[in-house]
């Protein structure tokens, strides 16, 4: 298995007035291509900061982040935009769909940032929403909106799919369906899926679990026999 992501001594310090907050403190880990990784930790542990750094939304204070051989910590704004456009798919807790665009248009929107054609309907079909193509987000349920969000993320064929509490706003039944969909992305399309959650049960379905506490990596566990999300007891 080849490494696609590597964090080397990554530290992120936030300054607030005269005080400093070390949100990520000398973090080191590696993630292989096609893995489904769960980043686990309590609230305020630094999980989202890690995701933001990896997604190119924020910059490191020190350390290196190597994605597919590129040092993204040294990227300028333009390179980071390109990196997000070509390599990263985001799935947010609150879906972040563009309310003025239909489900299909939210997906086809990605045509403007990639250099290949996107068959929006086919992607919508893959998430089971072909019949909702012309509906606006406000006409969809939470689970449906999150599926559109995933469809939008995978439309770019990203190498990494970053999911920040993707089931946080959903009921448990819908949540399982969404997690299952993400797992399929990892297994069927060899996409690296990184899932942020505070629900430790989900680690049973992950290839790797990175436990974060107080900004530090507490433990990295590799699961050689990951279960399916549908098999877990929530």
């Amino acid at each position: 298995m080849n490494t696609i992501i590597e964090f080397k001594n990554v530290t992120k310090v936030y300054k607030s007035g005269d005080s400093f907050l070390k949100a990520v403190d000398n973090v080191n880990f590696k993630i292989n291509r096609g893995e489904l990784v769960v980043i686990l930790g309590p609230s305020g542990a630094g999980k989202s900061t890690l995701l933001n750094l990896l997604g190119g939304l924020d910059s490191v204070t020190s350390g290196e982040i190597i994605v597919n051989g590129s040092h993204i910590e040294s990227f300028d704004d333009y390179q980071l935009t390109n990196y997000r456009a070509r390599n990263v798919g985001f799935v947010f807790q609150f879906f972040n769909l563009i309310p003025n665009l239909t489900a299909l248009e939210n997906i086809e929107l990605m045509k403007d940032v990639v250099d290949f054609d996107i068959d929006g309907l086919k992607i919508l079909e893959s998430v089971g929403l072909k019949n909702h193509a012309n509906q606006f987000p406000s006409q969809l349920s939470g689970g449906e909106q999150q599926r559109v969000s995933i469809a939008r993320a995978i439309a770019k064929k990203p190498t990494i799919l970053l999911c920040d509490e993707p089931t946080g706003s959903l009921d448990s039944k819908t949540g399982v369906l969404i997690l299952n969909l993400l797992q399929e992305m990892s297994t069927d399309y060899n996409t690296t899926v990184i899932l942020i959650t505070h629900n430790s049960i989900l680690s049973k379905a992950a290839d790797k679990t990175i436990k974060i506490k107080n900004g530090k990596v507490e433990e990295v566990t590799v699961n050689l026999m990951p279960k399916k999300f549908t098999e877990l007891n929530y």
């Binding site: 933001n52 997000r84 456009a85 609150f94 563009i98 003025n100 248009e105 990605m110």
Partner: protein
């Protein structure tokens, strides 16, 4: 605690609140400033005329003997009268300035208004009370001796006092140097006249009823015993002041209202949107048990205090600012002793009105939110559901760019916000186009008059009592054309003061049509377009007129309508005038030569340059006011467009940050916002053009009696106005592009709630 929240909210929304403050400030400033300035000018003049007891009319006669006075008094309407001898003279000073001497019987009508020195003493035979402007220009002081020469008689007096006269409020010299050193007036007691037998030639009268009735009574009783009767509104100074007030009134009756409407509309949108933006906070307050009335009160006070403070400051600064801007020009051209600030209370009503509207809008905005259950408001408002429109179902829709589709949807979903934005742009467009249009048209009239109508270099004013053959001889010598200019009353259902121009077809003064093309003057009667519109007459109609002061009424058929940028009235040939039974008595000779030497039989020489300077001076006050308005229109446009862009940006910030996270480049996102902004500008500007034309066509006909402004919008005006608006928009977009580039994606994503 809510007070603290309000202060913090104001801090958080500081830009929006500053714009609310500025819009209230500018709206109130322009409204009160123009209202007070115009009302104060009018009232100051009225008070001055009242205080100096300005005559209601002037009877010119060489028979002002006791019997004549008895007959005038016997008219029944006469309240007061006083004789004067008015003489032209030359002061024995450098360049022999022209001074009009008034030997007065008493100082009770059209009284000399003393500024410095001794009060006018009717028993003082050695003193003279001199025009202060002339004295200042000539550096003459109280106690100086001054000599005048009139009809070969020299009169030497000591200056006892300096001051103004209500008959010379506007008395601008045109003939020589453009300052007050070349002409003026002087008042003296009848006892100062060198002879015991003073030949009074003017009777100042105060009467009851209309001047029309008085004129008829006078004609009935004293026909043939007087040469002319001049009513107050026809007196040159009174008429010039009235013209200026009329021009100011026409500007101030429209522009401040447009300013107010736009300011209020934008202020309301901003207030409404700030409150909507606070929806979840309102829910939290409500969920925590804070009573509805307290929440309503809290939000009602949000903008109210700033609106009151802004409009109050505008109402304080406006009258002072407009006075500071217009006063130097006004006091140079109009000589009157004091300035009464009036209209402060009436115009200040705008403060409670703006405050009340602000309260009402806040009340309805907050009330609609507060009445919902707390559980609803505590969550962000669900996005509006909408169905695909016909356009969106078309095949071509899918081929349209994302930019177009996104902006179409934004507009579709935010119809009222889009509408208010467009209304704001329409308002700015109207202010700019009509302000520039007025400025341009006044200049256009000037070019028309001095390029297409007048082609002479010198205008030679003919002395009185010169025979027609002598006039022809001078005209031949100077290679000029005699013309006759006279004031006339056109009598329809109302009497209009107009100008009669009598001339042969020539190349020195051209009678023009509306395209500025030459019309041949044959034996036809022309009426100017503005006068025709004012009187509601047209070709083929018959009108009555009389030369001012004469009682002979002439009936005349209008053969053609001409267009005159300046001086409105009738034009005809000498032949036609004589056919109508009037004497052709040329008043001046126009020539293309530059006459510098004195010519026998010529009183004065006026050069074209002097006329142009005089025209510029006369319009300077209006131009200053218009330029001020244009400047405020640009400032208001800047605030409005900034505010609208900011509100739009704030509302779309979440979408923009999502797109940025998804990998869209900042430049692309800037383009998205700019497209919307430019689209609104294009729509607002296009809709604003006909409305601007409508505003211009409301202002221009009322813009004074003499000047003829044709409502039109030139391509230059359109281009300049569009450049101003688009430049403001580009500046705003550059500012927002920086904001987009600097958007903190992490912070914003944390705060995203849908």
């Amino acid at each position: 605690m809510l007070k603290r929240k309000m202060l913090r909210d104001i801090k958080d929304y500081k830009v929006q609140f500053i714009s609310i403050f500025l819009m209230a400030f500018i709206g109130s400033l322009v409204f009160t400033g123009m209202y007070v300035d115009t009302a104060s000018f009018e009232t100051s003049m009225d008070n001055y005329y009242d205080e100096t007891n300005l005559a209601d009319g002037w009877i010119y006669s060489d028979y002002l003997v006791d019997e004549f006075l008895y007959q005038v008094k016997a008219l029944g309407a006469t309240n007061q009268m006083e004789r004067q001898l008015v003489l032209d003279s030359k002061a024995k000073l450098d360049n022999n300035p022209n001074i009009i001497l008034h030997f007065i019987e008493n100082n009770t009508i059209s009284k000399f208004y003393l500024i410095e020195g001794k009060e006018l003493d009717i028993n003082d035979s050695e003193g003279v009370w001199l025009d202060k402007s002339f004295a200042d220009a000539r550096n003459l002081k109280i106690g100086d001796e001054i000599s005048f020469e009139s009809n070969g008689v020299e009169i030497q007096k000591e200056i006892r006092g300096l001051g103004y006269s209500p008959e010379y409020v506007y008395n601008i010299p045109l003939s020589t140097v453009q300052n007050y050193s070349s002409m003026g007036f002087a008042y003296m007691s009848y006892k100062a006249f060198p002879s015991d037998n003073i030949p009074y030639n003017v009777l100042n009268v105060k009467f009851s009823g209309t001047s029309e009735t008085f004129s008829q009574l006078l004609d009935y009783r004293l026909h043939g015993y007087y040469t002319a009767f001049l009513e107050r509104s026809h007196q040159p100074s009174v008429s010039a002041v009235a013209e200026s007030i009329s021009q100011e009134n026409s500007i101030s009756s429209i522009f401040p209202i447009i300013f107010m409407i736009i300011s209020m509309a934008m202020l309301l949108t901003t207030m409404k949107r700030i409150i909507s933006h606070q929806r979840t906070q309102i829910g939290i307050l409500k969920a925590n048990g804070i009573k509805n009335y307290k929440i309503i009160l809290h939000y009602m006070l949000f903008g109210f205090l700033l609106v009151i403070f802004g409009s109050l400051l505008g109402a304080v600064i406006g009258p002072i600012l407009f006075h500071i801007i217009s006063n130097p020009s006004r006091t140079f051209y109009y000589k009157f002793p004091y300035w009464n600030f009036v209209g402060l209370m009436e115009s200040s009503l705008i403060i409670p009105i703006m405050g009340a509207i602000s309260l009402l809008v806040s009340y309805y905005s907050i009330k609609n939110i507060v009445i919902e259950p707390a559980s609803n408001i505590i969550k962000p408002k669900a996005p509006k559901t909408s169905k695909l429109s016909y356009v969106e179902k078309l095949k071509v829709w899918e081929k349209l760019s994302f930019n177009f589709r996104w902006n179409y949807r934004i507009i579709k979903r935010n119809k009222s916000r889009s509408m208010m934005t467009i209304i704001g742009i329409i308002g700015c467009t109207i202010l700019l186009i009509s302000g520039l249009g007025l400025y341009e048209e006044i200049n256009e009239s000037k070019d028309w008059y001095f390029n297409d109508v007048t082609h002479f270099d010198s205008k030679l004013a003919i002395e009185d009592n010169i025979s027609l053959s002598q006039v022809k001889s001078i005209a031949q010598k100077t290679d000029g054309e005699p013309i006759m200019e006279s004031s006339i009353d056109i009598l329809t259902s109302k009497t209009e003061l107009a100008t009669l121009l009598v001339l042969n077809d020539n190349d020195l003064i051209t009678v023009t049509d509306s395209n500025h093309d030459k019309l041949d003057v044959n034996d036809e009667v022309f009426l100017s377009r503005k006068m025709a519109d004012m009187l509601d007459v047209d070709v083929g109609d018959t009108i009555d007129f009389r030369i001012v002061g004469s009682d002979k009424i002439i009936k005349v058929r209008i053969d053609k309508i001409h267009s005159s940028p300046f001086y409105q009235g009738l034009v005809m040939s000498p032949n036609k005038l004589e056919q109508l039974g009037l004497n052709y008595t040329p008043t001046s000779i126009v020539t293309s030569q530059h006459i510098t030497e004195s010519v026998d039989g010529i009183d004065d020489i006026i050069y074209l340059d002097n006329l142009i300077t005089g025209w510029n001076q006369m319009e300077e006050l209006s131009m200053l006011v218009i330029i001020t308005l244009i400047c405020f229109a640009v400032i208001l446009s800047l605030i409005i467009l900034y505010n609208l862009n900011l509100l739009s940006f704030t509302e779309l910030e979440n979408d923009i940050v999502t797109l940025k996270v998804l990998g869209f480049e900042s430049a692309y996102l800037v383009k998205l916002l700019a497209t919307q902004s430019f689209l609104f500008i294009i729509i607002g500007f296009i809709v604003g053009i006909p409305l601007s034309y409508y505003v211009l066509s409301m202002i221009m006909p009322a813009f004074g009696r003499n000047i003829y402004l044709v409502p039109s919008i030139s391509p230059t005006n359109l281009v300049v106005s569009f450049i101003i608006i688009i430049s403001v928009s580009i500046i705003m977009n550059l500012y927002f592009s920086r904001k987009i580039r600097n958007l903190d994606m992490v912070d914003l994503l944390k705060g995203l709630e849908r």
